[in-house]
Amino acid sequence: MSAPAIAVDNVTVHYGEVLALDAASLTVDPARICGLVGMNGSGKSTLFKVIMGMIKPDAGTVRIGGQSPSKARREGGIGYVPQSEEVDWQFPLSVRDVVMMGRYGHQGFTRRASKADKAAVDEALDRVELGGYAGRQIGQLSGGQKKRAFVARGIAQGATIMLLDEPFAGVDKRSEATITRLLRELAADGCTILVSTHDLHALPQLCDEAVLLMHKVLMHGPPERVLQPENLAMAFGLDVLNRKEAG
C-alpha cells in the first residue's frame, strides 16, 4: 500500500486567540476526489494553507505523498486553483502566460521557457479545451473558463495533488459539468483532488468522498452519507436552531 496522497494528522491552528483548526485529521488516498464542506470560517481555507505549507500548524503534522509539504512543493507536486475573489482579473497577462507560470518550478534562474515548457502549456490548454483562448487576457474569459485556465496551470505544472477553492462559485451549470468531467478525468489519471465548495448539489457527481469540517473533521465518508440533512445540520450549526425551536 502506497502512502496516502494527503495525510493531515491532528493539526491545530490558531490565529491569535481565534481557533481555526482543532486537532483536525484527514487522509485522502491517491487518485481520489475529496469534497470539503463547511461554512465560512469553518477552517477550509486554513486547511488548504496548512497543506500547502503556508501556515505552520501549532500542533500536528502534514505529509504529502509521504513527504514533507516543502519537499512536495519543490517537486511541483501541489497545484492550486484560487478562489475568484483572490485573483486580480485586470492583471495584464494572457491565458498562456498564466498557464506558463505552472512551469516556473521546472525552469532556470530567469524562467526562460524551453520547447518542452511550451509543449506542456499547449497540451494543458488543449486538455481543458482552452486552446483557442490562449492569447486572451485572463479577465476576458467566462467564469468557468477562468477556473479551467488555472486547472491547466496545475496540469502544466505536473501536479499530483490539486487543491481547488470554491471552483463552482460564479460558474454556470454547463461549465460546472465541464469542470466536473475534467476533474474526473484528472483523477482517473492518478491526480488527487481536494475541493472546497458551498455547492452541495455538485458534490455527488464530482466527489468520491466528502468531509464535513467545523474546525475539526466531523465526518468523512461517501458524499451521499455526508450530505444527509442531519449531518449537514451538524456542520452548519442548524441543530442549535432546531433545539431552540423545540424548547
Binding site: M52, G53, M54, S70, R73, R74, E75, G76, I78, G79, Y80, P82, E86, V87, D88, F91, P92, L93, S94, D97, V98, M101, G102, Y104, G105, F109, T110, R111, Q137, R153, Q157
Partner: protein, 289 residues
C-alpha cells in the same frame, strides 16, 4: 534641428539628459510592478524615507546607496511593526513612518555644514550633475535594471499570485523583499535627477500610463520605459527653453502624457473607447446599408 542640438553643446546638459533618461528607464520598469501590486504608496514612502540615510552617508563619506538601503529597510520594518502590533491601518502606518523619517532627514540636513549638496537631494539638481554623480547613477541604475529584467517573471508571478509562487516552492517573502530592495536602490538613482519629493512620480506614472495602453505585461515593460525616457528628455528641453525647474518639468511632462493617454487610449481611455465604439457603430451601419 538647431533647437534640439543647441542645448547639447553644454556638457552639463548632456550629463543631465543621460542621467535623467537612465533614471527614467529604471524607475519606469520598476513602476510596472508597483502599480499592479498596489504599492504606489509604498514607493512614495520608501523614496522619502531614504533621505536620512543619504544625509548620514554624506556625513560619514559612505556611498549614498548604502545609507538609502539601510533606511529603506528600517522604514519597511517600522511600517510592518506599526501595522501588525497596533490597531493603526497600513496607510496610516506608512504615512507616519515615511513623514517622520523624511523630517529626520530634513533636520539632519539643517545641522550639516555643507548644505548646498544636500538640498539638491530634496528637489533634484539635474543641471548640476557631476561626473562622479553620473557614474554612481549609471552603476546603480544598470544593476537595478539588470536584476529587474532577469527576475521579471518571478516578480510578475509574485505580483499576480503569491500563493502559487509558494505552492511551487518559491518564497513570496523573499521576492517581496527583493522588490523592496530594488525600490530603495532605484530611489537613490532617481534622487539625483528629480529629487526625493518627485521620485514617486517617476515610480508610478510610467507604469500607470503603460497599463492603460496594453493588457500584456511584457509590453508594459517596453512601453513604460520608452514613454518615460521620452517624457524626461522632452521635459529637460522644455525646462531649458522655458527656463523652469528641470526636475519638476520632467514630472509635469509625464503627468500630461498620462492625462492624454487616460483620455484617448483606445483600450481604456475615457474618450478613446467612446470614439472606437462610435466608429464600430458607423461601420455596422455602413455594412448594413
Amino acid at each position: 534641428m538647431e533647437l534640439l542640438l543647441e542645448p547639447l553643446s553644454y556638457d552639463f546638459m548632456v550629463r543631465a539628459i543621460v542621467t535623467t533618461a537612465l533614471a527614467a528607464v529604471v524607475c519606469a520598469v520598476l513602476s510596472c510592478w508597483l502599480v499592479l501590486i498596489g504599492w504606489s504608496l509604498m514607493g512614495d514612502a520608501v523614496s522619502h524615507a531614504v533621505l536620512p540615510g543619504v544625509v548620514l552617508a554624506y556625513i560619514v563619506g559612505a556611498p549614498f546607496a548604502l545609507g538609502a538601503l539601510v533606511f529603506a529597510l528600517i522604514a519597511v520594518t517600522l511600517i510592518g511593526v506599526v501595522r501588525n502590533t497596533s490597531r493603526v491601518k497600513e496607510d496610516a502606518a506608512i504615512g507616519i513612518v515615511f513623514s517622520s523619517l523624511f523630517a529626520l532627514g530634513l533636520v539632519l540636513i539643517s545641522v550639516t555644514p555643507s548644505q548646498t549638496d544636500l538640498n539638491h537631494i530634496i528637489f533634484g539638481n539635474l543641471l548640476g550633475v557631476s561626473i562622479p554623480d553620473l557614474i554612481q547613477v549609471l552603476v546603480l541604475g544598470v544593476v537595478a535594471f539588470a536584476i529587474l529584467i532577469l527576475k521579471r517573471r518571478d516578480l510578475t508571478l509574485y505580483a499576480f499570485d503569491p500563493t502559487h509562487a509558494h505552492a511551487i516552492g518559491l518564497s513570496p517573502q523573499r521576492l517581496g523583499a527583493l522588490l523592496l530592495g530594488l525600490l530603495a536602490l532605484t530611489s537613490v538613482v532617481a534622487l539625483q535627477t528629480v529629487g526625493v519629493v518627485l521620485v514617486v512620480a517617476m515610480l508610478i506614472i510610467p507604469g500607470a500610463t503603460a497599463y492603460l495602453l496594453t493588457d500584456r505585461f511584457s509590453r508594459m515593460l517596453v512601453i513604460a520605459p520608452v514613454v518615460s525616457a521620452a517624457c524626461s528628455i522632452t521635459g529637460i528641453y522644455l525646462s531649458y527653453y522655458l527656463d523652469t525647474a528641470s526636475g519638476a518639468m520632467v514630472v509635469l511632462t509625464q503627468g500630461v502624457v498620462f492625462a492624454v493617454v487616460y483620455l484617448f487610449s483606445p483600450r481604456q481611455g475615457l474618450i478613446g473607447t467612446r470614439l472606437a465604439k462610435a466608429r464600430r457603430r458607423k461601420a455596422a451601419v455602413l455594412a448594413a446599408a
